[in-house]
């Protein structure tokens, strides 16, 4: 079956612009996670959604970052007024339920110039 998909695969933007990153989870998965991976670093947790519950936003690095999940499926991560330190690979993962294994998408490589 189809895995987790993310778009775009690459995004180059100018400092100060807003960007939207999209994640399509595996059908039927109720939990969805966003992570950031900087070059040579481990994954940094950003936010997760579980069903219709309020999202856990504890990992968002600043108020320039926000995410939403519509209809319990597709999710969008928005970064406002991008900064060069936002450059990283943004990974999305979904799981059948929280505490189950997560399945990752291929990521969106964001470059802020």
């Amino acid at each position: 079956g189809a895995g987790v998909s993310q778009s775009p695969s690459n995004k180059v933007t100018e400092k100060g612009k807003d960007v939207e990153l999209r994640c399509d989870p595996i059908s039927g998965h109720t939990a969805l996670y966003w992570y950031r991976q900087s070059l040579g670093q481990g994954l940094e947790f950003l936010i997760y959604f579980q069903g219709n519950s309020a999202p856990d936003k504890s990992g968002l690095p600043s108020d320039r970052f926000s995410a939403e999940r519509t209809g319990g499926s597709v999710s969008t991560l928005t970064i406002q007024r991008t900064q060069q330190e936002d450059s990283a690979v943004y990974l999305c993962a979904s799981s059948h339920r929280v505490i189950y294994e997560q399945y990752f998408g291929p990521g969106t490589r964001l470059t802020v110039t």
Partner: protein, 109 residues
């Protein structure tokens, strides 16, 4: 604070040379410990979940074990296609996930 430390950072093996990767952790109420494999330019690929000390799981040349403080990923007779970065992650009682920085494994033919 929850913490995950993986060692070594990088490991070079000859084909057939068995070894182990370490994942040390501190977490408030472990719900699960996960191992993933990540190839360059791709998202992590799930390998194992361990839930309690003493648990072991195997898949082909890989075997994961868990104690109350650490997990090991044992690689038996590795092949070049096992070359990848191996990531360890813990899920805390509040469902937060924390990943280690990974071990970059290179297996030479």
């Amino acid at each position: 604070e929850d913490q995950v430390t993986q060692s070594p950072e990088a490991l070079r093996l000859q084909e057939g040379e068995s070894s182990s990767l370490n994942c040390s952790y501190t977490v408030s109420g472990l719900r699960g410990l996960f191992w993933y494999r990540q190839d360059p330019g791709k998202g992590p690929e799930f390998l194992f979940t361990l839930y309690s000390a003493g648990e072991e799981k195997e898949k082909e040349r890989l075997k994961a074990t868990l104690t109350k403080k650490e997990s090991f990923l044992h690689i038996t007779a590795p092949k070049p296609e096992d070359s990848a970065t191996y990531l360890c992650a813990v899920q805390a009682a509040n469902n937060d996930m924390r990943f280690g920085a990974g071990t970059r494994l290179t297996v030479k033919p």
